[in-house]
Amino acid sequence: QQQVKQSPQSLIVQKGGIPIINCAYENTAFDYFPWYQQFPGKGPALLIAIRPDVSEKKEGRFTISFNKSAKQFSLHIMDSQPGDSATYFCAASGNTGGFKTIFGAGTRLFVKA
């Protein structure tokens, strides 16, 4: 019930392509869904986040799509650039009997120049 399943494990796209990373959760008590971006040798940093009262959120080239009934959400990166090459983690949190954030396993994205 506390898992967040993320796919794919790795992704290679050409520059300008639109990589899509998918996540699914089980616990309906989750009410905050962030995406973190991590570059090699660095700690993760918040990229974009969404709450379940909206179905989509855009920030620059990054978009989260959220499907509450399916308990799924995804990250789309428009016009991807080599500088977007990083590991992306989806996560979910809420007042689920403990103040914890559950992270997906991560997706390693490589954008070819």
Binding site: Q9, Y32, A45, L46, F99, A105
Partner: protein
Amino acid sequence: NAGVTQTPKFRILKIGQSMTLQCAQDMNHNYMYWYRQDPGMGLKLIYYSVGAGITDKGEVPNGYNVSRSTTEDFPLRLELAAPSQTSVYFCASSFGQPNNEQFFGPGTRLTVL
């Protein structure tokens, strides 16, 4: 602001040795967390704290201990190092509720031989 700082950056331990990973934040955040990151496994919560003097176990607490005597500091103690504790350790903090953005430190890479 320095944000979240961690020391050391790298450490090699022998089996059975002990050490303390240091974490400090200067953002006056109430919540602090320790995660470990293993390849392909995402971030697993070890311990967390909701304020000075209050700590609780996360998903993988065995072999670790924490204390939170001040708002700023949240050290992680390994008492009897084992090869299974070879990992990258991240400290993070957030303001107020855990649904808020978590700020991560740069990580400590620990190898137990």
